[in-house]
């Protein structure tokens, strides 16, 4: 059987300059901090980040922004990170803002084999610029194409050695959606248990979409 467990030193081999990354988390909650620290330490740069937000300076994705490793951020919110706003205004980082629910669905569609989704959110606002509309049963929707990434960096509460995942409370957020939407999915886990150690009913992300596991801390 394939051994999915990766040492954090070997993790960095999977990354490359210019990669498109999906990173789980909501204002840092549910973000793989250890993996982020490794990226910063190794200076992997020109990254495109697809995530809910850029957290806070010094926390989660904020550390990548602080280190100026991000070329483009595709997120729903940057209000909590003045450094992101600064780099956007300077013109050193591009920011694409997407409504949070639309972003979640674009990611889900990307991973679930769909071409995109139809949503009423954003109709008649600047979010509609350059997008197509369509009408179904007399109601109008925006066509929002699916998105995918090279690598998804996720955080899970527990994994068995196959990569079946569970999450904890609000640390779940985008993680289970992103797990499907990248070429390679790497998960930082707090607890690693033997095969069979996660009940099938508890599994939120099936092991089929998990490529590598990295042991994180529980703090």
């Amino acid at each position: 059987m394939v051994d999915k467990l990766l040492k954090k030193e070997d993790f960095i081999e999977k990354l490359f300059d210019g990669a498109i990354l999906m990173i789980g988390g909501f204002l840092g909650d549910g973000t793989p901090e250890l993996l982020i620290d490794e990226i910063v330490k190794n200076g992997i740069k020109d990254l495109t980040i697809i995530a809910n937000d850029t957290a806070f300076p010094g926390k989660g994705i904020g550390k990548l922004i602080d280190a100026r490793l991000v070329k483009k951020a595709i997120v729903s919110h940057i209000g909590t990170n003045p450094e992101t706003q600064k780099q956007m205004i300077e013109g050193t980082m591009e920011v694409e803002l997407i409504p949070q629910g639309t972003l979640a669905e674009k990611v889900r569609a990307g991973g679930f084999g769909l071409g995109g989704i139809l949503t009423p959110t954003g109709l008649g606002t600047i979010v509609e610029d350059d997008k197509q509309r369509c009408e179904i049963d007399g109601k109008e929707y925006l066509i929002e194409p699916a998105i995918k990434a090279d690598i998804a960096l996720l955080k899970a509460k527990r994994a068995d050695e196959l990569g079946n995942l569970t999450y904890n409370l609000t640390a779940q957020n985008f993680n289970p959606l992103m797990a499907f939407a990248a070429e390679t999915t790497i998960v930082e886990v707090e607890e690693l248990v033997p095969k069979g150690g996660v009940s099938p009913n508890e599994v939120r992300t099936p092991h089929a979409v998990v490529d590598f596991l990295v042991r994180g801390s529980c703090k």
Binding site: F26, L27, G28, D29, G30, N52, D53, A55, F56, V75, S76, H77, I78, G79, T80, Q85, M88, V95, L97, P99, Q100, G101, T102, L103, A104, E105, R108, T119, P120, T121, G122, L123, G124, T125, I126, V127, K157, Y167, N168, L169, T170, A171, Q172, N173, F174, N175, P176, L177, R204, K219
Partner: protein, 224 residues
């Protein structure tokens, strides 16, 4: 009109709380909306839904009892109540966009005569992003705007037509400020109640949008 900052917030939160019903699923925005939960009548129990994936959120935990994986949508430590459910972001916005949230209470930069709301950016100045606001305003059954009646410099926020980028083309339902309760109707903005120590003239002078003033204009049924 009442100017004291704390009183203003209390008036707004108390009045919005009266709009919520027992058993409602409610999403409260950051700032004044968050305070609404403190003023619910004793027989009204609501389920707080938070964008980051929880239904049945409770208040801030006591110091030392924070859980790093249990936060509110502002990133601050929160708690969950018995019966709470945790889920991913697609499910969270399925609740929001799918019309399963009874009411959302959020702040605004501008609201206009047509009931349109702008609350997510000031071009060239402030660009926090829309976060979940566009989905909330588009999908919640009832949208309540809770905000101070005017900007800090006294200029109007309730105006003929929004000049800032809109949050949604869906019309909001109700505006609650320290000075007024205004309902968005087919015919325009209907002034329903006046805030404590507030005259009709004060409301009209601090609002540039046209207001419909009914014969049965009432005072807000609250005390501060």
């Amino acid at each position: 009109m009442i100017k004291d900052k704390l009183k203003v917030r209390e008036i707004i939160a108390k009045r919005v709380a009266m709009e919520l019903h027992d058993g409602d699923i409610v999403n409260l925005g950051i700032g004044i909306p968050t305070l609404v939960g403190n003023y619910l009548p004793q027989d009204v129990h609501i389920f707080l839904q938070s964008e980051n994936g929880i239904l049945g959120m409770g208040g801030a935990p006591k110091a030392g009892y924070e859980n790093k994986d249990m936060n509110n949508a502002g990133g601050l430590p929160a708690s969950f109540l018995p019966g709470a459910a945790a889920f991913d972001s697609a499910t969270s916005f399925g609740l929001i966009r799918g019309g399963h949230v009874a009411a959302t209470v959020l702040g605004a930069l501008q609201v206009d005569e047509e009931g349109h709301l702008a609350n997510w950016m000031i071009p060239g100045k402030l660009i926090p992003g829309m976060g979940g606001a566009m989905d909330l305003v588009t999908g919640a059954k009832k949208v309540i705007v809770s905000m101070t009646h005017t900007k800090k410099d006294g200029s109007a926020k309730i105006i003929p037509k929004c000049t800032l980028p809109l949050t949604s083309i869906r019309k909001i339902n109700l505006i609650v400020t320290e000075a007024a309760v205004i309902e968005v109707t087919e015919n325009g903005l209907l002034l329903k109640e006046l805030g404590p120590e507030t005259s009709l003239e004060e409301v009209i002078n601090s609002t540039t949008a046209k207001l419909i003033v009914p014969d049965d204009l009432k005072p807000m049924p609250i005390t501060v």
